[in-house]
Structures are given as structure tokens and as C-alpha cells.
Amino acid sequence: MTSSRIAGIPLGRGFTRLGVLLLAAAAPLSSQERSTWERRSAPTQVGPTVFHATQALNLPTAVTAGAGEFLFEISHRFVPAISADGTFLGLDGPVRYRLGLAYGISDRIMMGLTRSNLDDNLDLGARIRVLEGIAPLPFQVAVAGGMAWNKEVGGLAGSSTQYHGALIVNAGVGGRVALGVVPAVVANPLVRVDGEEALFSMGLLGQVYLTDMLSLVGEWTLTDESDALPYDPVSFSVEFETGGHFFRVGVTNSLRLNPSQYLAGAAQEFTGDELRLAFNISRVLAF
């Protein structure tokens, strides 16, 4: 017997055919294999977006400049009322202006130096975003504080120095609305009046984002009345947001731009005859 048998089946040419069939059947197995790969990390989670900019016309938000970024700002408040004759809506001036430069020490900590030409007020401030989350609403919480020197009043000592601090609580509603409350305190609020006690205020801020670029902003800072500044600062503005800029133009009754100034109140009432044109431009700079 020259050919072997398995289970009675003769091997030989038939077994060769069987081998070919097995080989043909086995070949596709390798190509049908599937990867063992599985995603090894979840998608990056970024913090919630509430307000887009670091400030409204006056009140701050919990937004800070990114780590390593500079934020340049120039703001104007035109002294003549919009209704004043012969001033081209107040644009002929004079103006109160503020120049500022802030720096993001980290994605949560920002320091800035701003100068207002009102009283030659030089303000060194810091803002730290301490908390944020998405439940039950997107929210961010920051603390801010600083000190200001009013060089035009008394040099760099004594009553010309002011201190201020604020808690900033922001929340978003429906992706298109941002709300903020800013309880704040200013020590030595009226640098030209001796013995003024610290003044507490409550800032209220709302912004409606109509498109990716365009939004409406309203803010109202409830302050204690004083003889010099008997009214609450109020403003409404339109904000344009672009790749690295925020541009705001609006109306306000406050000509006071730095925190130790606008938190103390306004000299004019928010009525039609007392409204002033205001604008801010801020630009993110990264090197």
C-alpha cells in the first residue's frame, strides 16, 4: 500500500487538493483581521465660555488673557454730552482716556497696568480666575484687586492712593447670553475728599451675543451715593469681536475709567441729556 489513509480517506492526490483548499481558505483570514486599537484618551476638555472679553465698557469679567499673551487696551469717554451743541456728538472732545497693558501670567492669572488721564490715575491690578464649571450653567468665578495712585492729586503717597477689590461671578444662559455680578469695594474712593470711608458697590452686567461677531452689552453699577458722585454708572454698548480684537462703542453717564474711579459712582445721571459716547478697543498680542 503506497498511500496512507486517514479515517478511511485515501491520502495522496486527494490530500494535496485538500491542502490547496485549506490554504485558499486560510489566506483571506489574515486580510480580514481587524485592529486592536482603541482610543487611548478622551477628547480635550476646555473650560466653559461665558463672556468672551475681559471687560465690558467698565466692569470686568472672569476672562483673563491666555498664558504669555499681552492685552492692549485704549478707551475713550468724550466729555461733552452727545446732545451738546457744536461738539459733533461729543467727539470734538475733550476726552477722558485710558491706556492699558495686561499680561497673562498663566491661563488663569492676569496682571495689568492702566493709566487714566483723569487725576493721572495709574492702576496696578491683578485678576485670578479661581473657579469654573458647566453645571448647572456654564460659570466662571474670579477675584480681582489692585491699587491706584493719583499723581495729579498728591503724588505717590497719602490720600492719593486707592485700593480696590472685587469678586466676579459670571454665568452663561443658552450659549448666547452672559450674566455677571461684581460686588466690589474701594478704599479711599474720593481722592479729593479727606476721610471718605470705603465704598461698596454691586456691578450688574449682561451681554447678548447676536452673532459670532456682534453682541449687545449693558452694565449698571449700584453704588452708595456721595455728594461728588451721586449717580450709578450705567452704560450700553455694542461689541464687535474679531480674531484678536474687541471693539465696543456705546453710551454712558460715567467719565471715570479705572476701577477705583468708576466703582465710586458717576457725576451725571443716566438721562438723555447726559449721555456720553464711549468706546474701547482691546487687542490680544502674542509674541
Binding site: 494535496t16 485549506l22 483570514l29 489574515s30 485592529s35 482610543r39 476646555v46 499673551e69 480684537h245
Partner: protein, 200 residues
């Protein structure tokens, strides 16, 4: 010694058949997460150029069991790569947010993916110039595309470098037409990473 019996041929073929799943088993490579990785999109206009960078790329390559070579059978290969778009950093936080929220909409479409197979390989320098065809998906819109990569063996790994253009409107990504945000209609993608054998 007599003539080889036909039954030996049968034994050989049967043995090969039984061993084939192991001998010719697909080789799987994963992106080496411990090695440098870099994914860059470059937007270049006459007024401005900026780039977004991330290292968050992952994925795999299945080969036909005999390594990468000029005769690698395209049908025996499979590729999949994905990039975590929320991790892209353009260097400006505000611009990052615009990219995430306004243009890429990463909350709904967190990954850009490429899924396909190798189409051709030619010797190129110390490695291969590889052409892959498949579906590139970003912003939830998938388009058939062909990409070209340089693949260089490095011991048991492969170094991969790919470049290909992406037209934003092909993926329904809005191109900002207002001042300052100078995003080009077509951006260039550059990918660099290593592949290592799966399980290492």
C-alpha cells in the same frame, strides 16, 4: 531514494494552511504616544500667516504581515488616524476659542479623522513615499482624498511625515470674511509621528 510521493506535497500545503494565520498575520502598528508627535495646520494669506499645533494624534496601521515594502498589497492594508481638534493651539487664546467654537465646532465634531488604505509605495531616501487613499473627515463632513507621506523605518518603528491641503469649504467650514481674522480658504496640514508595533 525514490521519487517524492505526492502525499508530501499535501502535507506541506496543509501545514502552510494551518500556519498561515500566524505566518501571514497582519502586522499592526499604533501611533507611539511616547514619541514626539506634531500636527500643524498652516493658514497663509497675503496679510497674515498663523498655525495651529497639537500633539494629540492617535491611530493605527494594519499591514499585510511582511512589513512595508514596495510590493505591499494595497488591499491588505488599513489606516486610521484621528486628531483631537480641541487641543489645537494657535498661540492666541481668543483665536483658539474662535477656531473651536465658530469654525471647527469641536463640541459636535471633536476629531478630524482619516480612514483608508495604502495605494502605492515607492522607495524614497531611506524609506518609502507612500500614497494613501481614504476618507478625510473634519467638521462632520467627510471627503475622499489622497495623501502622500514619507515613511522611514527606525529599528522596529516607522517615522511618518505627511503633508496635504484641505479646502475648508469642502468641509462646510465657514471662512471668516471680516477684518482681522485672516483664515485662508485652503490650509496645509502637516503631520509627524512614529508608529510602533501594537502591544509594545
Amino acid at each position: 531514494m525514490g521519487r517524492r510521493s505526492p502525499r508530501w506535497g499535501g502535507w506541506v500545503l496543509a501545514s502552510i494552511a494551518l500556519l498561515a494565520p500566524w505566518m501571514g498575520a497582519a502586522q499592526e502598528y499604533h501611533v507611539d504616544l511616547d514619541a514626539p508627535r506634531r500636527v500643524v495646520f498652516i493658514s497663509s494669506t497675503t496679510l497674515d500667516e498663523f498655525e495651529g499645533v497639537t500633539e494629540a494624534i492617535d491611530g493605527f496601521v494594519l499591514l499585510d504581515g511582511q512589513g512595508l515594502r514596495e510590493t505591499t498589497a494595497p488591499g491588505e492594508t488599513e489606516l486610521y488616524f484621528e486628531v483631537d481638534l480641541a487641543s489645537l493651539d494657535t498661540g492666541i487664546g481668543l483665536r483658539n476659542r474662535h477656531m473651536r467654537e465658530n469654525y471647527l465646532e469641536v463640541e459636535d465634531h471633536p476629531f478630524a479623522t482619516f480612514s483608508g488604505s495604502l495605494q502605492g509605495m515607492t522607495a524614497h531616501g531611506a524609506g518609502f513615499r507612500v500614497t494613501a487613499r481614504g476618507a478625510f473627515s473634519v467638521h462632520g463632513v467627510s471627503r475622499s482624498t489622497t495623501i502622500s507621506c514619507d515613511v522611514t523605518p527606525r529599528e522596529d518603528r516607522y517615522a511618518v511625515a505627511c503633508t496635504f491641503p484641505v479646502r475648508l469649504e469642502d468641509h462646510d467650514i465657514e471662512i471668516p470674511r471680516i477684518m482681522f481674522m485672516k483664515l485662508a480658504p485652503e490650509v496645509r496640514l502637516e503631520l509627524e509621528f512614529f508608529l510602533e508595533p501594537a502591544g509594545t
